[in-house]
């Protein structure tokens, strides 16, 4: 049952983009008689300016994240936290991924790959890890790109709210997996 749902969702998702790319202009040209080529080019012009505007914000965030990852500070933090989190049932094996997820997309994918290679895809660690990976986003990256694109530097409560949600997401991943699969 679940397999067939997953299968058809993932099989269906590859048609969505082509359908949108054709469907939207089709509606515009037939129903509204819009000059789709001209309008497309008009909109596409903004792509360059927005992408370039993000650069300074992304440099700032990615450099800090990269230094943090390279320094071993994360390992130190994890070795301090692991015994405490172990008390509330948080497996130490999944801790690095939980902390890496908001910092780096490629970093957390690397850690998930390690988990799967080390313990196999059927292990609870891998399933918790995959759930964590799929249920959260790279918070620091999204913040830099989204706010950077319009020149927002005062982010107010955005980071706190985002990181709290990440923490709840990671904890939920552990408990939900233990409850439903473990």
């Amino acid at each position: 049952m679940i397999e067939s749902i997953v299968g058809s969702l993932n099989a269906g998702s590859k048609y969505i983009i082509p359908l949108l790319l054709v469907g939207i202009p089709l509606y515009a040209i037939t129903v509204k008689k819009i000059k789709v080529y001209e309008v497309f080019v008009e909109g596409a012009k903004d792509g360059f300016t927005i992408a370039v505007r993000i650069i300074p914000y992304l440099v700032a965030i990615l450099v800090a994240v990269g230094m943090f990852r390279a320094s071993g500070a994360l390992d130190l933090l994890l070795s301090l936290l692991a015994p405490v989190l172990n008390l509330i049932g948080f497996p130490p094996e999944n801790l690095p991924l939980a902390f890496m997820r908001p910092l780096s997309g490629s970093g957390s994918l690397g850690l998930l790959t390690d988990l799967v290679n080390e313990y196999g895809p059927d292990s609870l660690y891998s399933k918790i890890g995959a759930t964590m990976f799929g249920s959260s986003e790279t918070t620091f990256y999204v913040l830099a790109v989204y706010f950077g694109s319009v020149g927002i530097t005062r982010s107010r409560h955005a980071l706190i709210a985002g990181l709290t949600a990440d923490a709840v997401g990671a904890l939920s991943a552990v408990y939900i997996c233990k409850l439903l699969i473990g």
Partner: protein, 196 residues
């Protein structure tokens, strides 16, 4: 807030790097990541242009207004300071739909378009509005209902088991994000006047 976290991360990295003997790696990471940041941004130009072009067609044909109207009951509560007929609502809805379907490539351009439209309503251009923070928090908590293709490839047959757990965990984090934003936006230290 971001000032302290940004500086703190770099300061901790340098101190930790000295202690762990990885200071060379820290320097190397700073230099290489600045390059990566530019590569990511430049790499976005094409996909941004593509989706912004398609979005312009959707906007001109009135499709965005139709979608925005359909989801008005939800968006009115999440983004009370955005007028119901404002184009930002349409972009926000499309961004969330793209996220839900796991279309990351399409989601970013749509999200940045939404930010641009929210910025038009912003009286203080360097400070995030309540709606912007809400939009960002929902985005960072991920509202994906399709397991990412990379995870499918990694997990193989075991992926069917994490389908439900991922939806439940993402639901928990998204609800947390929304509640946190609504709670914190009323606090004095996060007010627009005191913003940092």
């Amino acid at each position: 807030m971001l000032n302290y976290i940004w500086f703190g991360m770099m300061a901790i990295s340098v101190v930790a790097g000295i202690f762990t003997g990885r200071i060379d790696a820290v320097t190397e990471a700073a230099i290489s990541m600045s390059k990566v940041a530019v590569e990511i941004s430049i790499g976005l130009i094409g996909i941004m242009a593509l989706w912004l072009g398609i979005m312009k067609i959707a906007e001109a044909s009135g499709l965005i207004r139709i979608i925005a109207r359909g989801l008005r009951p939800i968006t009115v509560r999440l983004f009370p300071d955005v007028p119901v007929d404002h184009p930002a609502i349409g972009s926000i809805v499309l961004n969330m739909s793209a996220n839900m379907l796991g279309l990351g490539n399409a989601a970013t351009p749509l999200g940045l378009k939404a930010m641009e439209e929210l910025q038009e309503l912003n009286p203080k251009k360097d400070t995030a509005t309540n709606s912007m923070v809400m939009f960002l928090a929902i985005n960072t908590s991920s509202v994906q209902i399709i397991v990412p293709a990379t995870v499918v490839a990694l997990m193989g047959a075991a992926v069917s088991q994490i389908f439900i757990t991922t939806i439940l965990a993402t639901l928990a984090s998204t609800i947390t994000a929304i509640v946190m934003v609504k709670l914190l936006e009323k606090m004095k230290r996060f007010s627009v006047e005191n913003a940092s």
